[in-house]
Every structure is written in C-alpha cells, then in structure tokens.
C-alpha cells in the first residue's frame, strides 16, 4: 500500500491551514497556551516572498524575520510552485471550495472547467503592476502588493471579519466582542473570492493571485517538473479532471501554471504522468503567456500610479489630522513602504482601538492601522507595546516599553506621542454646559497628568435669589428653590452679596444650608441677594505632557462627537506636525 503524494499534499494543506487558523485564534495577548505566548503568528507572512521582495524594493532592506522567504524561493526555484497547493491557506480554501462545488459533475465537465484560459495571464499583470508601484522609491514608492497578496489578504479577512463573527457570543479567542470599522468590505471581498470558485475552480489562484504569478516566474528553471513520460498517451484527458493549476498536462504543459497538486499523476490510469527531470514528452511551455505590450502597460501603470495617488499631497501639508497611527509607527512615507495591511496589529491590540483605515488616509492607506478611540475598551493602553511586537515588517517598530514611555535609557528622548488631545470647549460639559465633569483628567494615565483643571464658579441659570431670612449657616429665600437637596451634591456654592462663597450641604424648597465648618462671617442681609453657583473644573491639555493615547477621548461622557479628541499634531514620528518649537528636531 503506497502512501501517495496526493495524500501528503492534502495533509500538508490541512496542516498549514490549521496552523493558520490556530495562529489567528491565539493572537490575543496572554501567557496561556491558547494565547499569544511565543507562537510565531507571523510565520506564514514571513514565508511569503511577495512580502519580502516588495519590501526590499521599497526600502532596499530585507527586514530580518522575512529571511524565511529565501528558503521558499529556493525550493520553488528547484521544485516548482509547491507553495500554492501545499502551503497557501487561501489556496487550500479555494481548492476545497472548488472541489466541493464541482465534485458531483461528470468528468467531462470538470475537464472543461480546468482548461487553460487566456485570462490566467491577468495575474502576471497584477504582479508587474504592484511591483512597479514599489520599485522606484526615488520617484515614489508604496507597498501595495498586499492588497491582493493571498497571505496578508487571508490574515486580514480572518482577523478582522471571520474570526470576530465566529467568536460571538462565546468569546473564546478574545475576551470581548471585537469590532473593526469597514470590515464588511474585507469580508465581502473574501466571500466573493471564495464564491468565485463556483464559477471556475481556484478562480483567484488562476486569474488574480500575484503571489502565484511570482512563483510562476521563479519556477522557470525548476529541475523537477510534471510532465508526460509517454507520448502519445491514451489521450483520455483524465489528468485534467482535477488539475488545480489549469496547466493542460495532457498537451504541452504550461509549467508556469502548474501548482504541483499531483492530481494529474494520481488520476492517470496509465502512469503516463510523472514528476521528472526530463521535460514532458508532449512538450512544455515554460514562460507565462503574457504579451510584451501587456507587460509594458502594467509596468508603466504601476510607475505612474504612485505619483498620481499622491496628487492630494497627503504626505505633505494636507496630511490627515484624524489619522492616529499606533505608537512605534514610522513616519508616513516610510510607513506606507512597509505596511502590508495584514491586520495583525488590529487583531492583537488588547483594547481593540486599532482599526483598518478607509480611504481618508489616501488609497495607499487603505486597511492600514489607525486608532479610533471611540471603539474598544479604552484608548491606547499606557503599558502595552503589543502592536509593534507583532508587526511582520516593522512598519510599526517593535519598541520596548521604556522607549514608549520615555524612561530608563530613553528618558532624554521622552515618551512617544501619537498625537495630542484637544478639548472642544463648545461640547465639554464644564466648559459649555455648566455641568461638573473631570472624567478626562481622572483617567489620564500619564504621571504627572497631561490634563489639568482650572476652577471656575458660575452662577447657575435662574440662580439668583432674595434673602428672606438668614443665619450664619442657613439662608431662607423668598423665591422657591428647585427640589430637595438638589444643591447638596457638593458642587454647588452660595455666593453672598458680601462676596462670601460657601459650599451648600443641603437645601429644601425654600432654604439652603452650608457646612458647619465654615459659617458666614457676615450674615447675608435680609432683602439682599444670594447667588447659587456651581463649581466647575475646566480641563486644559498640557501639550508638553500629552502623548495622545486617547483614554480621555474614550472616557468622555459626551458619547457622540467627543468633547476631547485626539488629533495627529504633535506626533513623535513626524516632526513637521510638531506644536512646540523645541520638538522640531
């Protein structure tokens, strides 16, 4: 009984898919076995050569964890496009969906579905285009490979859409429901890609996937390849019944399309197909089927796209002030050269405050991480550096806690600021509504606090009364007062004509009582007036101390448009947004 290659391939697909799902599940900070610990949750992203090559093109550097891509490249060069049908979890989903959708159909129909189509050349144009957007940092370069790169795409789809949905209401993967703005779009794209397998099996892999196209190019000189070992054969075409790559193994096999699923070899009853070093006896086509014109157009389009995308000057003075990036993020130009929009930072953020951006960060910024302090359990936690620890490309640097807080070795540099909070005095309760509130100041986590208060006493609406009778501790008024002990909350004060201000401890419908400890020095005169005043502590932001963490914004009770909001000015990563002169360096 032989152990067949196709069996191992299926095991491998399951293995890597399960690994992928497990990595998504454990991506919550914690030390238990089913939490983050030391699980290498980025390993599949690090294996992805398109991430590595894209970032080499934009930054001229290979960030050290991405060295994992090199063995994948080497194995592909030697053996062919094994990744697509042995490792890629997105590919496995498509493989399974295609199988499930079409397995009941007769063989002839399935063979038809797996014929080579010219549209399979589109993925090469996608590859050229995204590499061209990355390849010329001196003109303008941006890393957009990850929009269609399957590993980041799948990581993003799972982390931001699928897992949050599956995890309710049991909340096993995360301690609370997770929310991600605009994730429905990500889910829609994912679902569409999967559903397209009902039309053609492995639709995404054959027509769209730029990673597959990259592997196709790399496998040009493969030493071993699928091919016919006898020609002519019985020409039953059964080899194409389950051909995943649509590479026409029964004819001149298209090596660039073959994903090494080995189904042809397993299905061939005459053992005419093997994995061999000799070229297929029926001939082979090694090069991708793209025209020079298509190549040039994709290249030009990619090169021109980036300056076009930057016409809005979003990297210059028109930067988006609402865009707060996580602490440790690089300045915007370098950030866009590294971020692969994988969503790992969003997944791991314990407070769920990191969200995928829409297009107000520019189209280049789509699905890059930005903070939304209204979502999640609190702003950016002071003692947390999780996002930088999980970013696979160091678009968010793996900063240490001392660097974030500006302690120990980093005391001279000071803390990392991601923005500055601004009080909206027209919406803030003590500023505009005469209502006491210092929730923002109480919750400011830095020490000393970046929110300070200034005390103000305002006469309340209809707060002027005439004295009917008074003692050193009480005043009776001619006019009716509002309900019993309304003024006894500790915020209300009584101001006499003589200028004495005392805290009110109790009131009835017609009198007020002040504290025993501090009676009036001068008893209010009969017929004179008293004013009921409210003590307000008005918050001020100390911009030298504010780090933009957003806890104040999150806690502000004005729950719609918050009365204190964090804005990107003053962020450490971009000195041109500095508010203070000494921070220009």
């Amino acid at each position: 009984m032989t152990m067949r290659i196709v069996t191992i391939r299926r095991i491998s697909q399951f293995f890597f898919f399960a690994m992928f799902v497990w990595f998504c599940i454990v991506s919550t900070v914690g030390e238990q076995f089913w939490r983050l610990r030391g699980w290498p949750i980025n390993w599949l992203l690090q294996l992805d050569p398109l991430v590595a090559i894209g970032s080499i093109l934009t930054t001229h550097k290979l960030y050290w964890p991405l060295l994992w891509a090199l063995p994948v490249v080497i194995i592909t060069i030697i053996f062919g496009r094994f990744f697509c049908s042995w490792v890629c979890p997105f590919g496995s989903i498509h493989h399974f969906a295609g199988f499930a959708a079409h397995r009941k159909k007769p063989a002839s129909k399935r063979i038809q579905l797996n014929r080579y189509r010219k549209a399979q050349r589109i993925k090469y144009f996608v590859l050229v285009f995204v590499l061209a957007t990355a390849a010329f940092p001196s003109i303008a370069a941006t890393l957009q490979t990850a929009l269609l790169d399957p590993i980041p795409l799948l990581t993003r789809s799972f982390n931001l859409a699928v897992l949050p949905l599956l995890d309710r209401p049991a909340n096993l993967a995360s301690p609370a429901d997770r929310f991600y703005e605009g994730a429905w779009v990500i889910l829609a794209i994912f679902t569409a890609a999967v559903l397209l397998n009902l039309v053609v099996p492995r639709f995404y892999c054959r027509f769209i996937c730029p990673l597959g196209a990259l592997f196709a190019v790399l496998s040009r000189f493969a030493i071993w390849r699928i091919g016919k070992n006898q020609h002519p054969c019985s020409d039953c075409r059964l080899c194409e019944k389950a051909c995943e790559g649509a590479c026409q193994p029964s004819q001149k096999i298209r090596i660039s399309e073959c994903v090494l699923c080995f189904n042809c070899r397993a299905d061939c009853k005459d053992e005419s197909i093997s994995y061999q070093t000799k070229p297929s006896l029926a001939g082979e086509i090694t090069d991708p089927d793209i025209s020079r014109r298509g190549f040039v157009l994709s290249l030009a389009g990619g090169i021109l796209a980036v300056p076009a995308l930057r016409l809005g000057n979003k990297l210059g003075s028109n930067f988006s002030a609402a865009m707060i990036r996580p602490p440790g993020a690089l300045d915007e130009e370098r950030f866009l050269k590294r971020c692969i929009k994988c969503g790992q930072c969003m997944r791991v953020c314990p407070t769920n405050v990191i969200q995928p951006a829409g297009i107000d960060a520019g189209i280049e910024g789509l699905w890059t991480p930005v903070l939304n302090n209204r979502i999640g359990s609190s702003g950016c936690q002071l003692n947390c550096v999780a996002c930088g620890q999980v970013c696979p490309t160091a678009a968010i640097r793996p900063i240490s806690l001392p660097e974030k807080l500006g302690t120990d070795d980093f005391a001279a540099a000071g803390p990392i600021r991601i923005g500055t909070a601004f009080i909206d005095q027209g919406r803030c309760l003590p500023w505009a509504m005469d209502k006491p509130c210092i929730v923002c100041q109480e919750n400011c986590p830095v020490s000393p606090k970046a929110i300070c208060t200034r005390e103000v006493f305002n006469t309340i609406r209809d707060g002027v009364y005439t004295v009917k009778n008074a003692s050193t501790k009480t005043v009776q008024t001619l006019e009716q007062m509002p309900g019993l002990d309304k003024f006894a909350t500790g915020d209300y004060y009584c101001l006499t004509d003589g200028g004495e201000l005392r805290k009110i401890t109790a009131n009835t419908g017609s009198s007020i009582e002040i504290s025993d400890d501090e009676p009036f020095e001068q008893v209010p005169a009969l017929g004179g007036g008293i004013k009921i005043q409210i003590r307000l502590q008005r918050p001020f932001i100390d911009i030298e101390k504010c780090i933009g963490c957003g806890v104040c914004e999150h806690e502000c009770p004005v729950s719609g448009k918050k009365a204190v909001r964090v804005s990107a000015e003053g962020q450490t990563r971009s000195t041109k947004t500095a508010l203070l002169l000494e921070r220009l360096k």
Binding site: I5, T7, S12, Q230, D270, P445, V446
Partner: protein
C-alpha cells in the same frame, strides 16, 4: 518510457514519508517556539491604573517607582495596598497581617537581567514597628529552610525559590517564579541591597529574643504571636522558641508584661484557662514549679510568672524534660528581671 511500477510506488512512499517528517518537524518547531518568549513583553496589567494608586509616603519603604534590586529590571508597575484592600493581593493571608497592625504593602515584579524569562515578585510590608514585622516574619517561617547569606538567621532565611527577611518595621519577601537555581542565586545576591534601601527610623531591638537564646535552641525557631498565643486571648506579645532537650523538641515561651502584678495575673488566668478546659494539675518534681504544671490532654503545659515576665512550656511530651526547660527559663527570666531592677 514508464518506470517500473513497484519501484515507482516504493519511491513515492519514501518521499511521502520524508515529506510527512518535514511537516512533523515544522510542527515541532512551532510548538517549541511558543514556549520561548520575552516575558517582559507580557507584564500583566496592574491592579489599578497608576494614577489612581495612593502614592507612597516617604516612610513607606523604598520608592518602588525607582528602586530596582541589583541584577533585575522592572517587569510590571509597582502596586500599593493598604489595610482596606490588602486582601485583593494576598487574599486569605491578609488577616495575619491585619492582626499585626499592617500599614502598607509595596509590591512589584522584576525580571532577571541575565535571563529575562526568570522573574520574581518583591513584597515589602510596612508593619509599623519592628515587633510587628518580626511577628509576621516569624509566624510564616517555613520549618526546613536555609540561611540567607549576609543576614542574621534570626531575621532571615531562604527557601528553594525565595528569600525572606525582616528589618526594622519591614517584612520583605522576594519570591521567584520558578525553582531555577540561577534565579534563587540572583535573589540572594539582591537581598542585601534591598535591605540597605529600606529607610529605618528606629533601630530594631527586640529584647525578648535574647531571653530565649540558648545553645540547644533550634535556630530560627523563635516566633512572636502578637495575640492569641496558644489559643488564649490573654497571651499577647508572646515569644516562643523550640529547644532540643535530649533528642526531643520542646517549645518554651515568654511574654513581657507591664509589671510583676500583671505578669502574675496573666499567668494565673492562663493557668485557669487550661484547668477549665480540661487540664489536670500535676505534681512537679522541681519545687519552684509546684502548682504550675498542667496535663492538658496528654501534653504538659507549664506557666509561671517571673518578675514582669510570663514564661512557660507548651505542648511537651515529657514532663521531666519540660520541667527542666521551664526551670532554666524561670532562672533566666528572674535574672533578667533583677537586672532591670
């Protein structure tokens, strides 16, 4: 040209198994990787946000905001607890401290600089006075322990994974997260520095300790019960120690009262307490102890007053040995009482 079928099948099997092995190795690698990680990145969130915690006063021990034991780096934020919320940190044990006039606990986790995956938690209890600190120290002292280098064994000891000592009004525990010898060595090395960093207002002197010291006393066996010694509410501020008398271990105790009259009162009431609860008087072979020896459910209890001290023997198996020990203690206490006068 088709290859031979059996050869092909065999080769396929071999390659398949090899590939399975590769998958297995990958799985193994991932599994091994998950246990290796930098613990400092996982400092658990503090009990309260820093700004809401009471800031320590200057007499509350080293400012854990800035103090770091030698060889360690901070792993979490310092935590501070008062009598109201001590149980949040140490749960049931809180009552021991609260009964001993606990004032404040400063606690913080530290990681070894050399091996950051080894971490320990430092607890500094401010008990207000040296006696209180000694009480909680001695009452929790584990039986078989080792000496702590550089420290007087009466006031310090170590176990396989922690060091404990008391100095001035403080009781300090530095407890390692694992029994790694490397970590324990680091704790031992750091302990003297911690002691130095603690501000001492009063020189710690506990006179009763000298009264109990003897050659046959088991080192480190002195305990201080601030209240309810041996289950009797009248016995407060009672020091006890264990002695090796001819192979047997016997406990003796002493409590300084305000004066001789108070001592006699307390001794008498403890005596009555024993009798009322089922003890029977025994004839003593040592004259001075006549009337002081009680058989309490097959163990011997002796209690007497000597000057301002109440002394005695507790739960002894052998009456002769107990009497010898009690006589010795009585002589000691009488001499001490005379010296005071």
């Amino acid at each position: 040209m088709a290859t031979g079928t059996p050869r092909r099948k065999a080769r396929e099997s071999v390659i398949s198994v090899c590939l399975l092995a590769v998958l297995f190795l990958i799985g193994l690698g991932v599994f091994l990787k998950q246990s290796r990680y930098d613990k400092t990145a996982f400092a658990p969130p503090t009990a309260k946000p820093l700004s809401q915690q009471p800031q320590p006063s200057t007499t509350a021990g080293p400012n854990l905001q800035v103090f770091t034991p030698n060889g360690f780096k901070a792993l979490s934020e310092p935590e501070f607890y008062g009598p109201d919320d001590l149980y949040e940190k140490i749960n049931g044990k809180a009552s021991l401290y609260l009964d001993s006039n606990f004032r404040r606990l400063s606690a913080r986790r530290f990681a070894s600089i050399d091996s950051p995956e080894l971490w320990a938690e430092l607890y500094i209890y401010d008990m207000g006075t040296a006696r209180n600190a000694f009480a909680v120290f001695s009452l929790q002292r584990r039986p078989d322990t080792l000496d702590l280098f550089h420290f007087d064994p009466s006031f310090a000891y170590r176990t396989e994974n922690a060091v404990y000592f008391t100095t001035g009004p403080y009781y300090v525990e530095f407890v390692g997260s694992s029994e790694s010898p490397q970590l324990t060595n680091a704790l031992v090395a750091a302990a003297p520095g911690i002691e130095k960093a603690l501000p001492l207002d009063e020189p710690a002197r506990i006179d009763e300790l000298g009264l109990l010291e003897a050659e046959n006393m088991l080192p480190g066996s002195i305990k201080l019960n601030l209240s309810n010694a041996f289950g009797f509410s009248g016995l407060t501020d009672t020091f006890s120690a264990r002695y090796n008398i001819g192979g047997q271990t016997i406990t003796a105790f002493v409590s300084r009262r305000t004066d001789s009259r108070d001592a006699r009162t307390v001794a008498k009431s403890y005596h009555s307490f024993l009798i009322e609860n089922g003890g029977t008087l025994r004839a003593a072979s040592v004259g001075a102890l006549q009337g002081n020896v009680v058989d309490f459910y097959d163990t011997i209890e002796i209690v007497f007053a000597a000057g301002p001290f109440v002394g005695g023997v507790h739960e002894a198996d052998n009456q002769q040995a107990a009497e010898n020990l009690a006589a010795w203690l009585m002589k000691r206490l009488s001499e001490a009482a005379e010296r005071k006068d």
